[in-house]
Structures are given as structure tokens and as C-alpha cells.
């Protein structure tokens, strides 16, 4: 029975994916129920435990500890929410349900995996199935997003593969728990860390590896965007925390680098996101920014072994909070964009605002709790760094407020002639349930699983959480005022920012190649052929003889090649 409880979270979505290929009309149920075994295991499973399967691949092990339980609960809940929303959505193209379920199996499973091979297998499953979710609409934009997604994903997978090979061979075992210490003491320490940081960084969306995120989110159907941002990008974080030598040695260089990358990501996400006119792109950049904030914690854990347990707990808490908030924002935006009824529109706007202020970290929201959970570990950094990071994170929160304000402005009016959406009303209930989770989860779940402290709401704590929001709100008001008064608008940056110049460069290179190199190669080939023919004719003129000669010459080519090769190798080897 125990083994079953461990296998079902992965096996149920896998089997459901197969069943969903069939002609039966139960796809909706499969989508919304398949993540429940994972939820049950996360909620009711033993506190820490593991189970081994020696018959899979090179031996597989599943295990659960505090932080991964937290993420498992959040992930399973989000996939359930996404599944409920996906069942109502009649898609013109097939294939959504099976791919959604495969990605679910991978995402849930990688949280349980305790050995490198199982982890990598499930991570890849999620990545590959995720491509299908991104290109589901089959539009030109979706296919382009898919191209960028898969190119970065494959590069990431390869980096992870190499990093894992290095780590596992250093450790002599594929147990994930053994990899961190092994990397810490390995000769290839920096190479391994660099590969793993970059490989998982693609998934986590760290600048400049974030390029796929702002393209993929608007292209994918709303439920897919919700799980992509809410759950799947967290897999990158999980990878970092599981494999990197977190808490083993102090790596000040890497720590500074990762913290800097995290802060850059946090601010770049806000800055570029503000220029967007599509609400889903705005949310995608917000996810980039939020992952940057979590990345700062990874950097902290790499720098201060003592801070690692706190940082890991903080990162898991923040990931849970962000997952719920971002998923409800995506699903809410999906609803509000087709909502023509003013009353329901107001209701949706209110719900979105709740999730938005939670993301900004207004006191008493779960966002504030998550931000508070980060503080302890950051406080353990060298005092100068700690102060700098704290201030930077506060400004990042101000930026988040600004970005969320912009989002609400983007969707503030009901659409005049949106397509009729009869399923709209029925979805309000699950969405409201998700909002309850946004409000409550931060208060209940982390404390039940992890050793994280709830804040005592002193004046100082309240003020620390409030002023960034106030700054953000002021900036928003000022910006809106500027725009109203003088029409100063933000310059538009295309979604996917750096993708655009990269694509242009690629195109230019291709054109140049076609224009310059291809004709040149052709000229060389033609000239060469002519020369060779002239040479044959010089030796043996005449039709029949010539043809024979051509054949003989071909023979000779092969023969000479062989004798030559043999001779060269022999000379090389004896010398």
C-alpha cells in the first residue's frame, strides 16, 4: 500500500494521459482529478520517508522532505485548478489533455524523485510535454514561442545532463542527497555548478535565459499558462536546491553571482513587463521578476551554509505563495478578458486585486508572510550584502506593485463584444476557491510542514511591508498622471525582448550564408568537376574509354583512399 501511495501520483496522470487518447468523453474528469493522489500524498503522507524501486532504469528512489512536501501540495493543487479550468475549455485542436497530463506526471514526479536519473527523466518528460502546451493553438505566434521554448529547453537539458554526469561520477552514486557534498569536493566544482545553474536557470527563467517565458505564456491556453508559471518553472528552483552544494560549503563567488543575477532578473522583469500591453505578457514578466527574487535565496544558500536551511524553507514558502497567486492571476485574466457583464467584471477585478496585492506583499497577505520568511536567511549574509539585498528586495516589491497596478489598468474595462462564454459563470467557483487558497495558504501550509516563523505584526514589520507598496502605488499614480497629462507613454519593448535581435541576427546570418557561401561552394564544385573531367580527357580521350575511365577512376579513388589511410595511420602509430 505504501509503495502504491508513492507510485500513484506519477502513475495516475501517466495512465490518464493514455486514456485521454481514447474516444471516451471523460477527459474533463481525467484533467481535474489526476493530480489528487499527489495532493493526498502531500497532505496525508508520512513526514519524511522514501521508497526504492530497483527495477527501473538504474534503480529509482522516491522521497519526500519538508520543502518538497510544501511544493508538492502547491503543485498538486495548481494542476488540479488548471485541470478544472482546462476541462471547460473546448479546444479546436486535439492533444491538449494527454500532453497536459504528461507534463503533470513529470512535474509531480520530479518533486518526489530522490535519485538523479529519475529526477532527470521526469524533468525531461515535463519539458517535452510542455512544448505541446505552448504550441497548442498552432498559431504563428505559438509556433514561434514553441521554437524559442524548445531551443532553450534542449540547451538546458543538455547542460543539466552534463552537470548531472559530472556530479554523479564525482559522488559515485546517483542519490540526489549525495550530489551536493560530492560537487563541493569535486575537481570540476565550478564547471558542474555553472552547468547546473544555467541548465535549471532556463526553466526558472533567470535573465538572460528567460526569453522563452514571455513568448510561451501568452501563446499557451490560459490553464497551461497557469501551471507553467505557477508550478512548472518552480522545477528549475527544485533542481537548484536538490543538486547544488547548498549548505555544504561557502561559495562566496557563486553566491554573489547568483544574487546579482536574481536581482537583475527581478528588476528587468518589472522594467520590461511595464511596457507590455498584453495582460498575459505582463504576468509572464512578473513571473520572471518573482523567480529573480527566489533566485536571490538560492544565492544566499550558496554563500552561507548556515543560512541554507532557512533559505530553502523561505524559497519553498515563496514558491508556494507565488504559485497560487500567479495561477489565480492567469486564470482570472483568462476570465476577465472575455467578460462583458459589468457586475461580474467588477467581481473579477476585485479578485484579481486581491491576488495582486498579495504578490506585492502587502502586510497580512500570504505574500507578506513569504517575504518575511526570506528575511531570516538573508540576515545571515555578511552585513553589507544583507543590507543591500534587503533594500533591493524592497524596491523589487515596489516594482511588483507597479507591475500589478499596470495589470489591473490593462483589464479595468469590461470587453464590449467579447465572444460569448457560457462556461464563464461555472468557473467563478473554482477561481474563488483558488483565491481563498491565495489568502490562506501562506498562513497555514508552511507552518504545518516547515520550521518557518510567522511574523509578530509590530509597527516596524508592518512598515517594512507597507512602504514598498506605497512607493509602487505612488509611482503608478505618477506614471498614469504623466500619461494622462502629457501623453508620455512608455516605449514598447516587444514581448520576448532579446529574442527579437537574436532572431534577426540568425536571419541575417542565414541570408548571408545563402548569398555568399552557397554560390561560392557551387562555383567550387562546378570548377572542380570541370577540372577533373579535363584531366580525364587529357589522359584518355574518347567516349567509351572515357566512361570506363570514369568508373575506373572512382575505383581508384576508393583504393587510394584505403591504402593512403592505412599508410597514414601506420606512420602515425609507429611514429
Amino acid at each position: 500500500v505504501t509503495v502504491l501511495a508513492w507510485l500513484l501520483p506519477v502513475a495516475v496522470p501517466l495512465v490518464a494521459a493514455l486514456v485521454a487518447l481514447g474516444p471516451w468523453r471523460i477527459r474533463g474528469w481525467l484533467l481535474s482529478l489526476s493530480a489528487l493522489p499527489a495532493l493526498v500524498l502531500g497532505v496525508a503522507g508520512p513526514p519524511t520517508a522514501d521508497v526504492e524501486f530497483d527495477w527501473v532504469a538504474m534503480g529509482g528512489r522516491l522521497a519526500l522532505d519538508g520543502p518538497s512536501r510544501l511544493l508538492l501540495v502547491g503543485t498538486a493543487a495548481l494542476w488540479t485548478a488548471g485541470g478544472v479550468f482546462a476541462r471547460r475549455r473546448p479546444g479546436p485542436q486535439g492533444g491538449f489533455a494527454p500532453l497536459f497530463l504528461l507534463a503533470m506526471a513529470g512535474n509531480v514526479g520530479l518533486l518526489l524523485a530522490a535519485d538523479a536519473v529519475t529526477f532527470y527523466a521526469l524533468f525531461s518528460l515535463m519539458t517535452i510535454a510542455g512544448y505541446g502546451l505552448v504550441v497548442h493553438e498552432r498559431s504563428a505566434a505559438a509556433l514561434r514561442a514553441g521554437r524559442v521554448y524548445i531551443a532553450l529547453a534542449v540547451a538546458g537539458e543538455m547542460a543539466i545532463f552534463t552537470g548531472l554526469v559530472l556530479a554523479v561520477s564525482a559522488a559515485g552514486t546517483s542519490e540526489l542527497a549525495a550530489l551536493g557534498p560530492a560537487i563541493a569536493g569535486s575537481d570540476q566544482r565550478d564547471l558542474t555548478i555553472g552547468l547546473l545553474l544555467a541548465g535549471f536557470g532556463v526553466k526558472a527563467g533567470v535573465v538572460p535565459l528567460h526569453l522563452w517565458l514571455p513568448l510561451a505564456h501568452p501563446a499557451a491556453p490560459v490553464p497551461a499558462s497557469a501551471v507553467l508559471s505557477g508550478a512548472m518553472i518552480k522545477a528549475g528552483l527544485v533542481g537548484w536546491l536538490r543538486v547544488l552544494p547548498v549548505g555544504e560549503v561557502a561559495l562566496p563567488g557563486w553566491s554573489t553571482f547568483v544574487i546579482a543575477a536574481g536581482l537583475l532578473t527581478a528588476f528587468a522583469g518589472v522594467a520590461i513587463g511595464l511596457t507590455q500591453r498584453d495582460a498575459k505578457v505582463n504576468l509572464a514578466y512578473s513571473s520572471v521578476s518573482q523567480m529573480g527574487i527566489i533566485t536571490v535565496l538560492v544565492g544566499t544558500a550558496l554563500g552561507e551554509p548556515d543560512a541554507a536551511p532557512l533559505a530553502v524553507a523561505g524559497a519553498a514558502t515563496y514558491a508556494l505563495h507565488h504559485g497560487f497567486a500567479k495561477a489565480s492571476l492567469f486564470l482570472g485574466v483568462g476570465l476577465i478578458r472575455t467578460e462583458a457583464d459589468p457586475r461580474r467584471h467588477r467581481l473579477l477585478l476585485a479578485g484579481l486585486s486581491l491576488a495582486a496585492v498579495s504578490l506585492a506583499g502587502l502586510p497580512l497577505t500570504s505574500g507578506a508572510l513569504a517575504k518575511y520568511a526570506m528575511k531570516d536567511s538573508i540576515g545571515l549574509l555578511p552585513s553589507g550584502t544583507a543590507g543591500l539585498v534587503t533594500v533591493a528586495l524592497a524596491f523589487a516589491a515596489a516594482g511588483t506593485t507597479l507591475l500589478m497596478g499596470r495589470l489591473l489598468l490593462l483589464v479595468r474595462r469590461p470587453v464590449d463584444d467579447g465572444p460569448p462564454a457560457p462556461e464563464q459563470a461555472a468557473l467563478l467557483v473554482p477561481w474563488a476557491a483558488l483565491l481563498v487558497a491565495v489568502a490562506v495558504a501562506g498562513w497555514v501550509v508552511p507552518g504545518a510542514v516547515l520550521d518557518v516563523s510567522l511574523p509578530t505584526w509590530s509597527a516596524a514589520v508592518l512598515w517594512d511591508g507597507t512602504w514598498p507598496v506605497l512607493v509602487g502605488a505612488t509611482l503608478l499614480a505618477a506614471g498614469t498622471g504623466l500619461w494622462r497629462r502629457w501623453g508620455v507613454a512608455v516605449p514598447a519593448i516587444p514581448a520576448g525582448d532579446l529574442v527579437v535581435p537574436v532572431e534577426a541576427a540568425g536571419q541575417a546570418a542565414r541570408t548571408a550564408w545563402r548569398r555568399r557561401v552557397t554560390p561560392l561552394a557551387e562555383v567550387v564544385a562546378v570548377r572542380g568537376r570541370a577540372l577533373r573531367e579535363r584531366a580525364y580527357l587529357a589522359v584518355l580521350p574518347g567516349g567509351e574509354v572515357d566512361r570506363l575511365d570514369v568508373r575506373l577512376t572512382r575505383w581508384r579513388v576508393a583504393g587510394v583512399l584505403f591504402v593512403g589511410l592505412g599508410a597514414v595511420l601506420a606512420v602515425l602509430l609507429t611514429g
Binding site: 530497483d54 584505403f562 602509430l573
Partner: protein, 499 residues
């Protein structure tokens, strides 16, 4: 004559006897031909399974008879040969089923299936050969019997492909012959497994030993499609799909690679080869081949041509595994003999099926094929992901072991080769998969009416790729099972590295 001596001969007879009978049978006796083909294939699988059990139990099987003065004709069943025999037996069975379906509207069945069976006989002979002379005998037989299969269509292109094939392989065979003659001149008859003889030669005269090694590898390298000796392989893809499948997975190219494996492990022995310093050049050739093949595959629009260049690349994983000294890379190389076979056979079956059902042979016309032929493309997808090395397919198992082997041997550059090749594999396989599933149907085939009936196309054609495609996944997931190819390869490697 004992059971253990006749068994190797019986293994040959299961395809030799059908071959002879098929040649004798008149063309129209198709039922009898079918029974002979399938019967032989099934009996061969049963015999191979018996041998597996026997060898696991420590039994020895050998057939020996005087052949040339001082040289015996030896067939011996060992752990290494058995890996190849088992692969050949299984894939011959599926390919026979496939070929029956593929050629059902064709003429010249007697000729085709006769040579087809001879081709497998030669392959099994190569597998079981106990010394180089026996090996060469079957190696040349394979060269000759494959030619009629490649030119089966009789078109100009087919004949041109066949000519290129003969040109290369006959020359390669000649070089191999010279190498073997030289070896016999300086060391007398040497049997596989008797590595002491070569060790002695290497001590006495390392230059000669290196020269012999170079000649043997150059001769075998033609069939193994080592760059720059690979030119025949992409041209030979004009052959009918079942022939391509067999050619790229088991018969011809594998014979070359298998020969290299035997020369390295069972003739010279790893320590001797390492001491001679011949493994480093070999691993460099393999690495160049891996990358070059992938680069060439990238620019092909013809599906079978792309698959052909992919074979060039993938085969050298086996050579690379053999050339890097260590337990893990030995395991990786040996197991890839099997893994590459089942992946590539699946890809060629699927390519043939798409051509057969929709008349599509160019990748640029494959848009939307997945909607029309979902199960065929599912099998293709699994095999293609395997080639890229995505877990839990067998391709991943190979790459993981190769990577770990590179680390074990401290040959870190191998890891870079692996990485480059995996990225290239992804770059030329994933676009096919993406196009087939996520693009609207191509005008080139969209007007063809879908086939009525249970299957996407004739069952003889439809089922083999599903079976082999499933095995790409199952053998990967169950790689830890004691009867998996991985366990078998590790068993061999353990014996090789036993002190």
C-alpha cells in the same frame, strides 16, 4: 557430435535452409515462402533464447572444423556474440514481417527473400565467428548477399547506390584481407578471445601490431561507416525500407562495428590496444564521425537520407565506447549495439510507412502526419527522442553510461563530444517530430483518403514499428532488470575487466 556443437550450426541453418528453399520454390508459392520465412525467424529466436540461458549457466558452445591448412572454421557462442545474435534474431523477425507487408505488391519475392535470408545467415555467421578467417568469410558473404537487396528496385538510382556500396565494401574487404594475412604471417592463426598472442606480438614488434590494427580497423571501418569511409551509406538508402531498416540496424553496418568491437576486445584486448596507443586515434575518428554525421544529417530534407547520416553518427558511439578504456564505457558501447539497432529499425519502419501510406519521403512534406498516422508517429517520436537521449528511452541509457565512462576514464573531451552530438541530434530530430504533430497537414498528401479499417495501414507494416518502438521505451525503463541488454552488456564488461 554433441548438442553444444550443433547448436551454433543450427542457428545458421535456421536462415540458410529457408534461403535455399526459397530460391528453389517457384515465385507464386507465396504461402510456403511465408511459412519458411517466419518459421525460420521464430525458430532462430527460440534457439537464441536457449543459448542465452545456456551461456548464463556457464555452458560453452563451439563448432570447429578444419578449413584452411592450419586454420579452423570456428563458430563459438559466447557472451559478446550472443548479444549480437539475439539482436539479429529479434530484428530479423520483425523485419521479415515488415518486408512481407512492404513487398506484397512487388514481384521477385523469391529473389528478395532468398537473399534476405542469406544476408541474415551471414550476419549470424559474423556474430559467431571464432576467428578472423571465419569472420572474413561471412563478412564477404554479407557484402555480396546485400547487393541484390539494395538494387532490388532495379532503377538507375538503385543501381548507382548499389555500385557505390560494392565499390566501398569490396575495397574494405580487401583491406581487411590484407590485414588478416599480415597478422597470420607474423603471429600465425589467432582466435578471438586469445588476447595473449597479440600481447606477445605487441611486445615483440609494436609497429607491426599497430599496422595490423590500422588495416583491420580501416577494413572494418567501411561497413561501420567511419568518416571518411562512410560515403556508401547515404547512397545505399535507395534500397526498399525493410532493407534499409535491416542494413542500418543489424546487418551491414553492425557487422563492421561488431568487427571493431571484437578486434579491440577479443583480438588485441583492451590492455594491449591501450598500451599500443591505438585507441586514442580510434576514439578521435569516432568522435569526428559522431559530429560530422550529425552535421550532415542536419541539412538533409529527405527523411531516409537524414536517418542514414544519423546512423553514421550513432554507430560511432559504439566505437567510442570501445575506444575509451573503462568498465562503464565498455558497457555503453556494447549495449548501444542493441539500443541503436532497435531505435534505428523503428525509425526506418516508420519512414517506410509514411512513404507507403502517404507517399511522403521529404521532411518538409511531413507536416501534420501525426494526426493521420498517430501510432506510427508515436513510435517514431519515441525512437527519435531516444536518439536525442531523452530518458527513459534506451538512448538515454547509452549516453548516460558513455558520459559516466568518459568521467571514469578521465577523458573529459568525450563528454563535450556527447553534448555536441546530443544538441545536433535534437536539432535534426525534434523538428521532424514537431512538424508531424503540430503543423497543419501538408498539401502534398492531404487529399489522400484515409485508409479504412482498424489500422493506419496494412497490419504487416503497422505492427513491427509499434513493437520495436515500445521496446525502445520498455528496455529503457527496465534497464535494471537482470535480463535487460544493459545487464547483459555489464555482465560482459565485468568478465572483460575481471582480474
Amino acid at each position: 557430435v554433441t548438442w553444444s556443437a550443433t547448436l551454433p550450426m543450427l542457428l545458421l541453418a535456421t536462415s540458410l535452409v529457408p534461403a535455399v528453399l526459397i530460391f528453389i520454390l517457384p515465385e507464386h508459392r507465396s504461402v510456403e515462402r511465408l511459412v519458411l520465412n517466419l518459421g525460420g525467424a521464430v525458430v532462430k529466436v527460440v534457439l537464441a533464447s536457449l543459448l542465452v540461458l545456456g551461456v548464463f549457466a556457464g555452458q560453452e558452445y563451439e563448432w570447429r572444423t578444419a578449413f584452411l591448412p592450419g586454420v579452423d572454421f570456428v563458430l563459438r557462442v559466447d557472451a559478446v556474440p550472443l548479444l549480437f545474435v539475439f539482436l539479429s534474431a529479434l530484428l530479423w523477425l520483425t523485419t521479415t514481417v515488415y518486408a512481407i507487408g512492404y513487398l506484397r505488391h512487388d514481384r521477385n519475392h523469391a529473389r528478395f527473400f532468398g537473399f534476405f535470408s542469406l544476408c541474415v545467415t551471414a550476419t549470424v555467421g559474423i556474430a559467431l565467428a571464432g576467428n578472423l578467417v571465419t569472420f572474413l568469410l561471412f563478412y564477404e558473404l554479407l557484402t555480396i548477399t546485400t547487393y541484390p537487396l539494395i538494387v532490388h528496385r532495379g532503377t538507375d538510382a538503385a543501381r548507382a547506390g548499389g555500385r557505390a556500396y560494392l565499390l566501398y565494401t569490396v575495397t574494405g574487404g580487401a583491406v581487411l584481407l590484407v590485414g588478416i594475412a599480415w597478422l597470420h604471417g607474423v603471429a600465425g592463426p589467432v582466435e578471438f578471445g586469445d588476447t595473449a598472442a597479440m600481447a606477445a606480438l605487441a611486445d615483440r614488434d609494436p609497429a607491426t601490431a599497430r599496422g595490423i590494427f590500422a588495416l583491420l580497423i580501416a577494413g572494418l571501418g567501411v561497413k561501420a561507416a567511419l568518416v571518411p569511409l562512410h560515403g556508401w551509406l547515404p547512397r545505399a538508402m535507395v534500397a526498399p525500407a525493410p532493407v534499409s531498416a535491416l542494413l542500418h540496424a543489424v546487418a551491414v553496418v553492425k557487422a563492421g562495428v561488431y568487427g571493431i568491437v571484437r578486434v579491440v576486445y577479443d583480438l588485441f584486448g583492451l590492455p594491449t590496444a591501450d598500451q599500443l596507443g591505438v585507441l586514442v586515434p580510434l576514439s578521435i575518428v569516432a568522435a569526428v564521425t559522431i559530429v560530422y554525421g550529425s552535421l550532415r544529417a542536419l541539412v538533409q530534407d529527405d527523411l531516409k537520407r537524414r536517418l542514414a547520416y544519423s546512423t553514421v553518427s550513432q554507430l560511432s558511439y559504439i566505437v567510442l565506447g570501445a575506444a575509451v578504456v573503462g568498465f562503464l564505457s565498455t558497457t555503453a558501447g556494447l549495449v548501444h549495439l542493441v539500443h541503436q539497432g532497435i531505435m534505428k529499425v523503428t525509425l526506418f519502419y516508420c519512414a517506410g510507412n509514411v512513404q507507403e501510406a502517404l507517399g511522403v519521403s521529404r521532411i518538409s512534406q511531413m507536416s501534420g502526419v501525426g494526426r493521420r498516422m498517430p501510432l506510427t508517429m508515436a513510435a517514431f517520436t519515441v525512437a527519435a527522442l531516444g536518439m536525442v537521449g531523452i530518458p527513459p528511452t534506451v538512448g538515454f541509457i547509452t549516453k548516460w553510461y558513455l558520459g559516466m565512462g568518459a568521467m571514469e576514464a578521465s577523458e573529459h573531451w568525450v563528454l563535450a563530444v556527447l553534448l555536441t552530438s546530443s544538441i545536433l541530434n535534437a536539432a535534426y530530430f525534434l523538428p521532424i517530430v514537431g512538424r508531424a504533430w503540430f503543423r497543419p497537414p501538408d498539401p502534398a498528401w492531404v487529399d489522400r483518403p484515409p485508409r479504412r479499417g482498424r489500422f493506419e495501414l496494412n497490419g504487416w507494416l503497422f505492427l513491427p514499428p509499434l513493437a520495436t518502438g515500445a521496446s525502445v521505451l520498455v528496455l529503457g525503463v527496465l534497464a535494471g532488470h537482470p535480463l535487460s541488454p544493459l545487464s547483459w552488456a555489464a555482465f560482459i564488461a565485468e568478465e572483460l575487466f575481471a582480474p
